[in-house]
């Protein structure tokens, strides 16, 4: 399992997730800096992601869409606020329209990612925060496929265990 710990702060609306990968730091960084690799993990299997614009520099933007089973698309934009290759990246994550323009009044979360070499592998620490309680509530009302997806993923893992 890659996820080492998840700390949630329900009062301050933040999540800190720590994951450990058995891979060198440059390979983990590539998952963020290479748009073709990024789109392979961004969306769940049922909603594959396509990265359109990828400017991983401070002030740059990464825009992408996810395509659902019915061909429906949902767009997202990351506004990059800070980058220190290959150890950290910070951005705001927003729902966007088809031009990649963040939609006003839609929820925004702030993400900070930190990579460190550790025991021959790489530790990734991800800190996510909603800007306000209003954003958090609206994020729920938007609905996300990921919660359900996660449950299905866990079922797959259980089935694999039963088979072995």
């Amino acid at each position: 399992m890659s996820v080492t710990s998840v700390d949630r702060d329900d009062d301050n609306l933040t999540i800190t997730l720590i994951a450990d990968f058995a891979a060198p730091i440059d390979q983990v960084w590539d998952l963020w800096s290479d748009p073709r690799k990024l789109e392979r993990w961004l969306g769940p299997a049922t909603h594959p992601a396509s990265v359109e614009k990828h400017d991983l520099t401070a002030g740059g933007e990464i825009t992408f869409f996810m395509t659902g089973p019915e061909g429906d698309r949902s767009w997202g934009t990351w506004r990059v606020t800070a980058v220190d290759r290959p150890t950290s990246v910070e951005f705001t994550d927003a729902f966007a329209d088809a031009d990649g323009t963040p939609i006003a009044d839609m929820p925004v979360s702030k993400i900070r990612v930190q990579l460190t070499e550790r025991g021959g592998g790489t530790r990734m620490e991800m800190h996510a925060a909603f800007e306000s309680r209003e954003d958090m509530e609206r994020w729920v009302s938007m609905g996300t496929v990921e919660g359900l997806q996660q449950a299905v993923g866990q079922m797959d893992a259980l089935l694999a265990l039963c088979d072995s």
Binding site: V3, R40, W41, P44, F130, G147, Q150, G153
Partner: protein, 112 residues
């Protein structure tokens, strides 16, 4: 995606209610038991009227319900309303757990 005015108002009430530490404490206490307003008032360094006002804000936001029993008013937390605020963090956590799992798959030897 249009959020109606009514929904927005309800959301504003909810977050206004949750923004105060005394009110959050009242929510916790009334989830564990079902104290009366006067019982609650004994536990906070403020007047009965002030506590009553906090309870009224929580009630308007749908976070607690009040029930009259004899001369007392019992306060109970509505777990569903509190759960909605938590749900957003569940979703955010699930999103990133899913992403990390896929990153891990991509990094596994023999995946290229």
């Amino acid at each position: 995606m249009v959020v109606g005015d009514l929904a927005n108002e309800a959301i504003d009430d909810l977050f206004h209610a949750l923004a105060d530490p005394t009110r959050r404490d009242i929510i916790r206490r009334c989830a564990a038991g079902e104290p009366s307003v006067s019982r609650l008032a004994q536990d906070y360094p403020m007047s009965f009227a002030a506590v009553q006002k906090h309870v009224a804000v929580l009630e308007r936001a749908g976070l607690v319900t009040k029930q009259r029993r004899g001369r007392e008013q019992l306060v109970r937390t509505d777990a569903g309303a509190v759960g909605r605020a938590r749900q957003a963090l569940d979703e955010l956590e699930a999103t990133w757990r899913g992403r990390v799992d896929r990153m891990s798959d991509l990094l596994a030897p023999g995946t290229e």
